[in-house]
Symmetry: C2
Subunit: 795 residues, 2 copies
């Protein structure tokens, strides 16, 4: 078992270095405890009294001393090696520790000038923490240097990897809590090293921080045999280095041990990178990682009321809870605070003393001021080749057919070619399956493990990131975006729900950062959901769920956008818009199967610019419709058009208007969403009193949710996916959900006044046509030719 | 590296055993290919012609031969050892392989009598696969013996563990695909062995099936060094046994190797179990597992059109795609089918020959007929102690206060005590934090790793399953329920989104099985979401998301239920109902903080029975309200009651009606949900024309979605969470979202005709009160006493 390299000094720190690291650590611990407890008397210039204590004691002490220990040691090596490093805090609930460190670095005061580096600033620093009107308890976006909130655990390591891809000089120290390490997403993250190219990408130094406990339980990794844990890390391709600290152990010894291992790891990383960058063939190195075993709540109260706290789960949040009312607790808090010897750490004005001040690097070398952790400042726009050249010729509406995502792939290939330093494509092994394969003409799939003959476009310097984990795709992309780059995540529509919660956290991050002036906008997180609910011919029911849209629209309107381009040309225009946009989550749903191209490129651009519009060429209402046929999504648009064709053939005097929706948020009120439209405009499209038959891609009630305040809402009748499906043909799928052309015609007959009686025969014919279509598929296993071969007639 | 035990015979199979295993395997492979390709001519009694081929070729061949190989070998050892075993198919898209095996076992015909065990039955078996009106392509609920759909990958191993907990005699063979193994949930699953007690629980034998490729990519675990992979499995606590097969290798040799290893593993499991069951102290054994490395699409076409297919990603789905039009492909298909020598496997009638028929076990020993895989047949009701005894005395409404989940915990303790063989509690380290700690008076947390002094209620035979992974909690519980037991999953409300997609799949499973007569109803999946959006005092914005309800209600009304009990007594009544229910997903949201108890036990029972009702004691409308104050959720109920108090004090002549909703689905139309109410009843509660101010726990638009068809919908004004929040006090949180008592009063003034003008002064007072409340919290860090101390007045 490797713990240190025998040839190294066991005491790499000089007395001065040791003193500085230790002082910095003590200072951070002091400021952490202060934030959790103190309203006033920040430097204990007077004896602690109950009124100095916050009424609500909130915060997480347990993980904090370990976080600060690593922070202090990182500061030493950054200075010694001029490292370009960021610090990713997996245990993000240890917020006060990171805030403390950024205040010691000076960054906090630069970002928040009211929080000065003196006694008054320290008082405010303490008071604001987890205080109404103050700052959140976690390593939230408000904390300089953070790219990982850490409230919801599991994503630190994937964020760290995402950050260093294409950043060859960047080092991400990533602290993984042993609680977090139990989550699935984190467990999957270790193998991110199989897509990291040491020649082109930076490095992640993972630190598995074993403090042994979660909220009330021990952690699994702290309790499996140590040799198993080492074996596990080797299995993931790392060389683990163990550093252990015990309660009561001399801190100097621990500092020396950690310093030794940290130096060893950084030397190792240098060797790996040098070798990879001077050797033609890239192979997967065995990256170093650290297992840091420290007592939970280390240096805090050892026992409280006679019960062991330090080194147990009882140190998770606030170890001393009765401080305001229990004089013994108050005294113990004061002793705890004074144990860090604040008088040696802060001068009379409350500023850090020189020993502490010089223990941190300067300028952008400070981890809290590293521009990579505020990616917007580094963001360079994508070079976006003219997408219009990739449009499909559509001399007549619906006269040509195209696989939308395949057409998009041709343009994405050029985007990829033009942005080889700042754009990647992410997907759970579905880039080819979603027909974006053209990108492989200019790049490969990133792969830094064994490659054998017959493998398809795998290479260490590939820019397509594929792994069978939506979590990793999302997390890497988030890390990549948060550090100022661009990307696109393509996934099966149903399985994007796997990252619902990660989307939540990213959307919350975007929302929060809108209000943080020093955080600059980042590139949007773009989803292309293909292989959607209507075309799961192979897979059936388990692969059918269009509800990600519903999930997304629960988040703040300022940061979410949803697009349903009906054909290849509108998809091109939409995606160009999305890739150029900033600080949104864009959800684009588009199919990969051949389907009609309704609009030529100019029309598509105009339609996308409006986001919604009347397709005059398709209807015959001349401004006075009897019925509005609305549609959103490619398959619903196809069925609507076929229904309109049937209507115009069979009921030529019926005035039909066709409205197509690309930008779903246009349906909302302008007060609800920035893309929303005023009532007058909505009424002009949908009328105030005519029946609207709306064929929608997803769950029908979303349309009602978006339109329930509209004048004509009572007349809007929505068809969509109602959770019926199996492995079957495309037309059988729409029939199962009553979204098919025949049913849409029946809906019109049922809803336009007078038709139900007059057109009973037509309704019966439609009903019979459905039955025939169903019978045909049951008998022949495919859709009837007249359905498959239907095209919009040239009129 | 252990691959076999040297002391064992390298050829454990007798010639006869070998012949039977191989024949069974060939038969399954033949039937698999037949399902993918053939419409007719199932036994090749005539030369294959294009019209025998399906028009749409759907299915996944690649994983199938490996699945069938394991199935055949399991059948041998089940017979040899009289094993009680189930087969969990991680690569569930290998549906035709499992269907084939169940047909060979005879179970398929027993379940679906039309699919006889003869030529005509085989023809139907082939035709129905992935065919409109037929069966899905995956190991869907329709497949006998399945408890894991496998369309969405990642959950096989957690389902297997869930199945064997409390089933000491059960063995779950779990095939984990190497694609699936890349997912987070699967990666986290390996350590499920740290909560498995070999003395009390059954065994899982995981088989990591490395066929090397996903859809278009190699798999990571197939390409990392083999020693790393072995190390990884040892790190997870297993003893890995490697079995490898190469293209073209003699099948007999592979059979002997696999048989050797399988025997070794089963012997090892017996030793582990015997030891654990005869020794007082339980320690975590090193369980065996198998790494099975076989070529993808093994025994299928080696090359197609000169390109290598066997052993590559090209074998993933349908290796020969042009069979209907390309005579060379057709000939190759026929040769492929004939390579299994069907004439030796099926008799003239099409039934399996004796050698094949005797290669499978009989009755419930057949894995497809094991009752554990159709848990409903084994389901015994929970013994539910009388919850009324645990109710909180409430002599006057709101006069007492209780922590709802803590009260529930006392009853759950008795449920736990009375059902020590069939009930478990699952949670991501939040059972104590969600105040259900009373259960620890009768049980512990399951833990089969190192336990040290100071640990809190850990023991190998604990029945509380805690791990910091919502995925594992959900997956174990699903496996436990699907095998006929009961459970409750308690989680923070926000983070339950982590399992959105797993919920989807389980809800789809429940929906599908409603239509499968031989599948018996199972116990409901019960969620208790505590630490909800309104009380994230510690954690703030990242922990605030009430949208799981929105996600859930997208699924079929037949299988989903949502409850928002407003106090401790209604929570007891609700949970009793949920635990007794069958085949639903019940979502219960309830807080853990002290709050008023509004109803005494009898009232609570009556209220829960109705699901919604007028609180006559709270209002003063005497059947003719001026305004309806509706509420759903504990915090909204509190604010509504405080608002009603303000209204009744300040506007005594205003007739106020209070409607409280426990069962959210009551709001829907009876046509939309079985719990829905008819319009007349809705109108009687909410009036047809009076303003309704509705304070709702979650995102407000859900209430609109549920009620948009109601007569009075235009007058329903909903307040709820609108994605505003941070680490702050409870009252500041409701103010941030305009759900506070003062704002609700302002809403009433704004919406009741005439009040806006007449009561402008009152409105201003409410506005001022909000401002004061905000200022108070900003200054003192807690809510103002008059807010904290407010109680519903005795009237």
């Amino acid at each position: 078992m490797t713990t240190t390299d025998a040839s190294r000094s066991a005491t790499p720190l000089t007395a001065d270095e040791l003193a500085r690291v230790d002082a910095l650590w003590r200072a951070a611990n002091y400021l952490t405890v202060g934030q959790i407890y103190l309203l006033d008397n920040p430097l204990l210039h007077e004896p602690l009294r109950p009124e100095h204590i916050k009424p609500r004691l909130l915060g997480h002490w347990g993980t904090s001393p370990g976080l600060s220990l690593l922070y202090a040691h990182m500061n030493r090596v950054i200075q010694a090696r001029d490292l370009n490093a960021i610090y990713v805090t997996g245990p993000g609930h240890g917020g006060p520790a990171i805030v403390a460190n950024t205040w010691l670095e000076g960054t906090y005061t630069e970002r928040y000038p009211a929080i000065t580096r003196d006694t008054e600033g320290m008082r405010k620093l303490f008071r604001q923490f987890s205080f109404p009107g103050g700052i959140p308890s976690h390593v939230a976006p408000e904390v300089p240097g953070s790219i990982n909130e850490g409230g919801e655990l599991g994503y630190s390591l994937m964020h760290a990897y995402g950050a260093v891809y294409d950043n060859p000089d960047l080092l991400a120290l990533c602290v993984v809590g042993d609680g977090e390490a139990e989550t699935g997403p984190l467990a999957a993250s270790w193998l991110s090293n199989t897509l990291l190219n040491p020649a082109r990408d930076g490095a992640v130094l993972p630190v598995l921080h074993l403090n042994g406990y979660k909220i009330a339980n021990p952690t699994l990794l702290a309790r499996i045999p140590e040799q198993d844990l080492m074996s596990l890390m080797r299995g993931y391709g790392y060389e683990p280095h163990l550093v252990r600290a015990e309660i009561g152990e001399d801190h100097a010894t621990v500092h020396q041990r950690l310093a030794t291992v940290l130096d060893l790891c950084l030397d190792h990383i240098s060797v790996i990178q040098h070798h990879a960058r001077t050797t033609p063939t890239v192979t997967r190195p065995r990256w170093p990682m650290i297992i840091l075993r420290t007592p939970k709540g280390w240096t805090g109260p050892n026992t409280v009321d006679g019960i062991q706290v330090e080194g147990t789960f009882r140190a998770h949040q606030v170890p001393l809870s009765g401080v305001r009312t229990n004089p013994a607790h108050l005294a113990q808090l004061e002793a705890w605070l004074r144990s860090y010897r604040p008088e040696q750490l802060f001068d009379a004005s409350g500023a850090p003393v020189e020993r502490v001040g010089t223990a941190v690097p300067a300028g952008h070398r400070r981890m809290s001021d590293n521009p990579h952790a505020n990616g917007g400042v580094l963001l360079r726009p994508l070079v976006l080749p003219d997408y219009r050249k990739f449009g499909v010729a559509a001399p007549a509406p619906g006269g040509t057919s195209a696989e939308s995502t395949k057409v998009l792939g041709e343009w994405l290939r050029e985007v990829m070619r033009a942005n080889t330093d700042r754009f990647r494509l992410f997907g759970p092994d579905e880039v080819a399956s979603n027909r974006l394969g053209a990108v492989f003409e200019v790049t490969d799939r990133a792969f830094v493990a064994e490659i054998v003959p017959g493998d398809d476009h795998l290479a260490p310097d590939g820019r397509v990131m594929e792994v069978l984990s939506e979590h990793l795709c999302q997390g890497w992309l988030e890390g990549y975006l948060l550090t100022g780059r661009h990307g696109l995540f393509t996934s099966y529509e149903a399985f994007i729900h796997i990252v619902d919660s990660m989307f939540n956290q990213h959307a919350k991050w975007l929302k929060s950062t809108l209000d943080i002036p020093w955080r600059r906008p980042i590139a949007s997180l773009n989803y292309l959901l293909s292989s959607h609910v209507w075309r799961q011919d192979h897979n059936g029911f388990s692969h059918q769920d269009p509800g990600f849209i519903d999930h997304v629209v629960n988040k703040k309107a300022e940061v979410i956008r949803v697009y349903l381009p009906p054909d290849a040309n509108t998809l091109l225009s939409t995606m160009d818009h999305c890739l150029a946009s900033r600080h949104y989550v864009n959800v684009v749903v588009a199919g990969k199967q051949p389907q009609p191209v309704w609009l030529d490129m100019d029309e598509a651009m105009a339609h996308c610019r409006r986001g919604i519009g009347i397709w005059e060429w398709a209807g015959n209402d001349e401004g006075e419709p009897d019925v509005v046929m609305a549609c959103a999504g490619d398959v619903p648009t196809l069925e609507t058009m076929a229904a309109v064709d049937l209507l115009r053939q069979n009921l030529p005097s019926l005035r039909v208007r066709v409205v197509n929706v690309v930008d779903l948020m246009r349906l909302q009120d302008e007060k609800e969403h920035p893309h929303g439209m005023p009532d007058a405009q909505f009424d002009a499209l949908f009328t105030t009193d005519k029946p609207v038959v709306f064929a929608y891609h997803g769950y029908p009630w979303l349309i009602h949710r978006l339109t329930y305040r509209r004048t004509n809402h009572d007349n809007i009748h929505v068809r969509g996916y109602k959770e019926e499906g199996t492995t079957t043909t495309p037309f059988d799928m729409v029939m199962l959900n009553d979204l098919d052309r025949f049913h849409l015609v029946m809906d019109v007959i049922d809803r336009v006044p007078g038709l139900a009686v007059r057109e009973a025969a037509l309704r019966q014919r439609m009903y019979d046509a459905r039955q025939r279509a169903r019978q045909y598929t049951r008998e022949y296993g495919e859709d009837a030719p007249e359905i498959r071969d239907w095209v919009w007639p040239a009129r």
